[in-house]
């Protein structure tokens, strides 16, 4: 029974159902605030997809990820408010800048392995935060940047309003998921995973470690930059706190809960936790009392996260039932649909 339900979720068509749900969500939401929260969740999800490429696929824990998000946001913020650019050119500039910085930081930091890499990037992340906070001539310091341009609309579409903005963010999220699935299924994605399994083995398979890791790193920072740029265009205010290392750890949590290294893990984790956090808002500070144990239980019993555990369970079940070659690689979206449904209720 459960298996049949799972098989339904893994059906290729269920991703269109999920997309349809996301498309009608604003109509089902009881107020504009919910749409706004969902759009924010989608933006974070884009960043988490980037995190998943470098950490989930390639196995390199990049703790500067939140920093690249902030760089993307600040690029749009400063170019539109101080330099008077329009949103879209600034948006492209943000992507390019985070890609180039990713290349430079990656080329240096990826010489280190494992914990050393994580610690080094943690420092990079903190340096980015300090620069945003202290370099007042450029970043306005603790005051932050106001008067950020909203994405330029076209025709009757005005991205200052929540609804069009929601669809804009959704468009980018869908693109990112599509592109990530392409990577995951391709030889390029397999090369990333080979490195996660072990540097030595990957190298002995003829994989150029440095080059491959840098490619994964640049993809991830560009995703973060994209998310940051959208964030700036949506919130229309950025401050140094957006570069707080805390955001990186939040993203790790989203990724772990959803399922590290899976295609739909980042979406499930981010959307799920953002909504759980929202619904526990009334508890204020005390919500961590519920949240903390919940997380511990999840990590102990479902170390692969929601999607990872689901996929593993489905695969074993299919093997046990002798259902022959089950295409596991074609991933499932799952869960979010029920999640969204419950949110709508």
């Amino acid at each position: 029974m459960m298996f049949k339900l799972g098989a339904l979720l893994m059906h290729p068509a269920s991703k269109y159902v999920l997309l349809a749900l996301a498309l009608v969500f604003p109509a089902l939401a009881s107020n504009e605030y919910q749409v706004y929260v969902m759009a924010t969740a989608f933006i974070w999800a884009i960043a988490v997809y980037g995190f998943n490429v470098i950490t989930g696929f390639c196995g390199q824990l990049n703790l500067a990820h939140g920093g690249f998000f902030a760089i993307g946001a600040y690029t749009v913020a400063l170019l539109t408010s101080d330099a008077g650019w329009n949103f879209w050119p600034a948006f492209v500039a943000a992507l390019l800048l985070t890609a180039v910085l990713g290349l430079l930081v990656g080329a240096v930091s990826l010489r280190l392995k494992e914990h050393y890499f994580a610690i080094f990037t943690l420092c990079v992340g903190f340096i980015i935060y300090l620069l945003l906070d202290k370099w007042e001539e450029l970043t306005h310091g603790a005051l932050g940047v106001r008067n950020i341009a909203a994405p330029d609309g076209f025709g009757l579409v005005n991205f200052r309003e929540t609804m069009p903005l929601y669809y804009l963010v959704l468009f980018f999220l869908v693109f990112i998921i599509w592109f990530t699935s392409r990577i995951q299924k391709s030889l390029v994605g397999r090369t990333f995973v080979a490195i996660r399994n072990g540097d030595e083995l990957a190298e002995s398979l003829g994989i150029n470690l440095m080059k491959t890791k840098i490619v994964a790193f640049v993809i991830s920072t560009t995703y973060a930059g994209l998310a940051g740029a959208l964030y700036a265009g949506m919130i229309r205010f950025v401050g140094p706190e957006d570069g707080n290392v805390l955001h990186t750890f939040n993203m790790i949590m989203y990724m772990l809960v959803g399922g590290i290294g899976t295609l739909f893990g980042p979406l499930v984790g981010t959307v799920g936790i953002v909504w759980i956090t929202q619904s526990l808002q009334f508890l204020e500070e005390y919500r961590m009392i519920i949240f903390g144990p919940l997380l511990v239980v999840l990590v102990i019993f479902f170390p692969l996260g929601v999607c990872g555990s689901f996929l593993t369970w489905m695969h074993r079940k299919a093997q046990a039932l002798g259902l022959g070659p089950k295409k596991v690689q074609t991933e499932s979206k799952v869960k979010t649909s029920s999640q969204e449904a419950s949110n709508n209720a």
Binding site: S186, R196, L304, R316
Partner: protein
């Protein structure tokens, strides 16, 4: 096939491999034995380019590969397995093997974005190669099994298959039969013979003497980083220096 000349590797003041010269013939099973810490794995690491030698030369089919990076050496046809192979536990056997052929492909990120003909062609080739390797090691039936659900022996075979999927000329096997039972060891020995029959050259490090003596064409004995003997199983078995090295140090060899 593989010619090593005066190879030395110093770790600080310690000579892990000391002035070793050897010539491993093509289409043979060549074994490297020696007590723990004799420098056998380091020797493999030097050949495969994972470590840079302090001095000496390594020639592969006449090509000098001495200071080449690991991935280049692999492209020239050196496949290898490790004592423990970390694979993607919650992915199928086949999925784990497809990446083996990656070094013979060119596709990059751009090909992924536009889903180029080249990418499609190369992915098909990689998949075929993986299936071929899986068939070679006799695991076709386990194609869709998760690595996590495989036995120790099956994992060993998957590791072999992964090395074979790189299209190597020579394979370096580091303790291929460690941790498997006697019948399974027999099976793995058969597999190595099959590799040689199919035109490969095999080099292996192993502690299971019964197996080594049964299959090796040539044995090199290392002790404290130095080559103390070389020859056919018969010659090595009766070499007094070898006997002393084993009985005089530890008796891991008996295991």
């Amino acid at each position: 096939m593989l010619k090593v000349e005066h190879l030395t590797k110093m770790f600080g003041g310690l000579a892990a491999v000391n002035d070793v010269s050897v010539d491993f013939g093509a289409n043979q099973i060549n074994a490297i034995i020696g007590p723990n810490g004799a420098g056998k794995s380091t020797f493999f690491n030097l050949i495969s380019g994972m470590h840079q030698p302090t001095s000496g030369r390594i020639l592969l089919d006449g090509t000098d590969v001495t200071r080449m990076r690991c991935d280049h050496v692999a492209k020239l046809g050196v496949g290898r397995t490790f004592q423990t192979t970390n694979l993607f536990e919650t992915a199928t056997v086949l999925d784990n093997l497809i990446v083996g052929y990656r070094l013979r492909t060119q596709s990059g990120l751009w090909d992924v974005l536009i889903n180029s003909k080249r990418l499609q062609r190369e992915e098909k080739a990689a998949r075929e190669k993986a299936r071929e390797a899986l068939d070679f090691v006799g695991l076709t039936h386990a194609e869709n099994r998760y690595i996590a659900d495989c036995t120790q022996e099956e994992r060993k075979r998957v590791a072999f298959a992964l090395a074979l999927a790189t299209d190597p000329k020579i394979v370096l096997l580091d303790e291929p039969a460690a941790g498997v039972n006697p019948e399974e060891t027999e099976g793995l020995a058969e597999l190595m013979k099959k590799m040689v029959k199919n035109g490969l050259t095999v080099c292996l490090i192993e502690h299971k003497m019964d197996m080594i003596m049964g299959i090796a064409d040539k044995i090199m004995v290392l002790d404290h980083g130095e080559k103390i003997a070389e020859g056919t199983p018969e010659e090595v078995k009766n070499n007094p220096v070898v006997i002393e090295a084993y009985l005089g140090s530890d008796h891991d060899a008996a295991a």
